[in-house]
């Protein structure tokens, strides 16, 4: 059953650490030129608008989360994705409803992009019955089995082996599906990543490894946790196709993700994408963010993926003046409704505490 093993070449190219201009970096350009079908799929203005709105929706949703956290409506650890929206939105474009997604604790963007309703995500943060994990998960543990969204894993790298298993099941049954696994640069230092990268390459698993390199693992900068900071290069050493991509450019991310998913569906085994990105906010709501230079944050904010795409569309005359306001209003309404619904939703009764510990209630413990 093993498809011919493809020659695995390293196709990574350098992006500047903090891209200085809004220009599409080289990696993605070359992807676009050489990618079969990529020019046919080249997103048009309408598609760009969808990408923009999807990013904006995640941004506004999370900004509301900040307010709700300050108002003590939401508690626990909350990790914001603000600044990284292009990654979730771009990668999601390459996935179908049959594919699977495994994510981390910084997963609001992945969950929303995947189609989990904002109401269900918000209700989960409120700890309500109507939450997408029945109030047992919170911000870090969003799940939706019907959408094949397998969490919401708050053990750094802990979801990666599980993603390999989802991919293994597909491969054993000959199902042409992709399992997409998101994780951070910090996860790259964990054994679970390296064990799984080897296993996935060895077994040609249909696995898309998406490393969101935001240059920090909590307060530890990439240079302070990796001896070799070119992560795509290192992933390629496992015999996987691997690229580094500008993660602040939704279109570049989408193009790369399409190409990688296409390769996986064609039987070329696991692919690795290093998406160079940045979080504009602190690691979590608890983090005073003492370890980053303000100038560095500002440099990256100049690469805001929402502004970059907006500017690009403006330059091309693809956005009229009242369009952004309309989108803002629509998104604002959706978030308002999600909050309103969460406020009204019942809390899970403490009687149900032991439900779902096992599938059938144990007669003895």
């Amino acid at each position: 059953m093993s498809p011919a093993r493809e020659t695995r070449t390293r196709k990574t190219s350098k992006t500047t650490e903090a891209p200085k201009t809004a220009k599409t970096p080289r990696a993605s350009k070359s992807v676009r030129k050489s990618g079969k079908g990529a020019s046919a799929d080249r997103p048009g203005a309408a598609h760009r608008r969808d990408l923009l709105h999807a990013m904006l929706r995640i941004r506004r949703f999370e900004e509301r989360c900040v307010e709700l956290y300050s108002a003590a409506k939401i508690r626990g650890f909350v990790h914001l994705y603000i600044g990284e929206e292009a990654v979730a939105v771009g990668v999601n474009e390459a996935l179908t409803a049959d594919d699977a997604v495994v994510s981390t604790y910084r997963e609001h963007g992945h969950a929303l992009a995947r189609g989990i309703p904002a109401e269900a995500v918000m209700a989960e943060m409120y700890g309500r019955t109507t939450g997408c994990s029945g109030g047992r998960g919170g911000s870090m543990h969003l799940f939706d089995a019907n959408r094949r969204f397998y969490g919401g894993n708050a053990i750094v790298a802990g979801g990666i082996p599980l993603a390999a298993g989802l991919a293994l099941a597909d491969r054993m049954r000959g199902q042409p599906r992709v399992t997409c696994c998101f994780f951070g640069d910090g996860a790259f230092a964990e054994g679970e990543f390296h064990e799984t990268a080897n296993l996935a390459a060895l077994w040609h698993l249909p696995l898309l490894l998406v490393c969101e390199n935001n240059r920090y693992a909590m307060g530890t900068a990439l240079e302070r946790h990796e001896a070799q900071t070119d992560l795509a290069l290192r992933a390629a050493s496992y015999g996987m196709v691997s690229w580094a991509v500008d993660g602040m450019d939704a279109e570049a991310v989408e193009t790369a993700a399409h190409r990688a998913a296409g390769g996986i569906r064609a039987g070329a085994g696991p692919h690795f994408l290093e998406l160079r990105t940045y979080r504009f906010r602190a690691h979590s709501m608890y983090d005073p963010d003492r370890y980053r230079d303000k100038a560095e944050i500002e440099r990256w904010k100049a690469q805001d993926p929402i502004e970059r795409l907006t500017d690009r569309m403006r330059e091309r005359g693809e956005l009229d003046d009242k369009e952004p306001a309309e989108a803002e209003r629509r998104i604002g309404d959706e978030v308002d409704q999600a909050v309103e619904a969460a406020e009204q939703a019942p809390e899970e009764s403490s009687e149900s505490l032991l439900r779902h510990v096992t599938s059938t209630p144990a007669e003895v413990s």
Binding site: G131, G134, H141, I160, P161, L168, M172, T196, V364
Partner: protein, 331 residues
């Protein structure tokens, strides 16, 4: 009939386990076995010998030395509808996969609000007695029995070795199977499949009236020998085999203590914070007024398992220790 099919009557614990695996793989093509050296090598203790030839490398998968990755892969495959059986060479090595077992397998169902059951079986060897020293001999099944969301079983007889796998695979939640290393060569007549092979109940392996010897796994043969010796001394010992360490069958324990009014708990793990402690606590909580003597425990000495034969024997519960404990309770 595939190669290596064994005589159903005269068999060993190892062959009984293999027969269980073979039956499971024949009857359900979602079932596959994966682990280090389960294929070409035949399993580090020979349990899966011959299965690669019968079922092929897709279903008898040799893995790299990556406990976390292949246990996690088992969890993912189970989520996707397969019925994986993951073999970990020994319980000491399972610690490298503890993250996956605890933080994923045992947790996903609850954390997802009931959306993600994990029908996974993990088998591993446990226990001492083969002079394998301090990194291959420990009995950590009690640690796993601490975890809500998983079932922990310890087949101690040929019948259980042969027949516990099917209900384990039918369980929608993760099941950990602990195979004691000294039992693999245990041989005897395999009885017909007892209707009683379930995963919920302890078994009374020998009836008695004076004292309950409560144990499981590799200590069961020792408890039975101790009962023989006690009989010579005129003491009628009942032997309870826990079989399932989580969830514990408190009913069978309480019923036995209600008959005998005395109990010795035999557990090869360290005494402190052990399963023996849990069983003792339950007796104290639920059967206090039945007791005619304090509960006794026979456990391993609180040291890493030593290599030298004399030292290892000194560290492990022995028949004489069980007999002495029973005498303390009865006399």
């Amino acid at each position: 009939m595939g190669p290596g099919r064994t005589d159903e009557r005269k068999t060993t614990y190892r062959e009984a386990l293999r027969e269980g695996l073979r039956e499971a793989m024949r009857s359900d093509d979602r079932v596959f076995l994966m682990g280090e050296d389960v294929g070409r090598y035949g399993g580090c203790f020979g349990v899966s010998l011959g299965l690669l030839e019968e079922f092929g490398p897709e279903r008898v998968r040799d893995t790299p030395l990556s406990e976390s990755a292949f246990v996690g892969a088992g969890i993912g495959a189970a989520l996707a509808g397969m019925r994986p059986i993951v073999e970990i060479m020994t319980v000491n090595f399972s610690l490298l996969a503890l993250d996956q077992i605890l933080n994923n397998a045992a947790t996903l169902l609850h954390m997802s609000g009931g959306q993600l059951p994990v029908p996974l079986v993990i088998r591993m060897t446990t226990g001492a007695g083969r002079q394998l020293a301090a990194q291959h001999s420990h009995s950590l099944e009690g640690w796993y029995a601490h975890i809500p969301g998983i079932r922990v079983i310890a087949p101690a007889t040929l019948e259980d070795a042969r027949h516990m796998l099917a209900p384990a695979l039918a369980d929608p939640d993760p099941v950990l199977i602990f195979e004691h290393g000294v039992l693999y060569n245990a041989s005897g007549e395999l009885g017909p499949p007892a209707a009683a092979v379930d995963l919920d109940h302890a078994a009374v392996r020998r009836s008695g009236t004076d004292i309950s010897l409560i144990t499981y796994g590799g200590s069961l043969p020792k408890a039975l020998m101790a009962a023989d010796e006690l009989a010579v001394d005129g003491i009628s010992a009942e032997v309870v085999d826990l079989r399932t360490l989580r969830p514990l069958d408190g009913g069978t324990i309480a019923a036995s203590v209600a008959r005998t009014h005395r109990a010795v708990v035999v557990d090869e793990a360290w005494r402190t914070g052990s399963l023996a402690a849990e069983v003792s606590a339950r007796i104290a909580e639920g059967s206090f007024y039945e007791l005619d003597a304090p509960v006794e425990r026979v456990c391993s000495a609180e040291c890493p398992m030593p290599y030298a034969r004399r030292l290892e024997e000194a560290a492990l519960p022995q028949v004489t220790d069980i007999v002495a404990a029973a005498h303390r309770a009865v006399d």
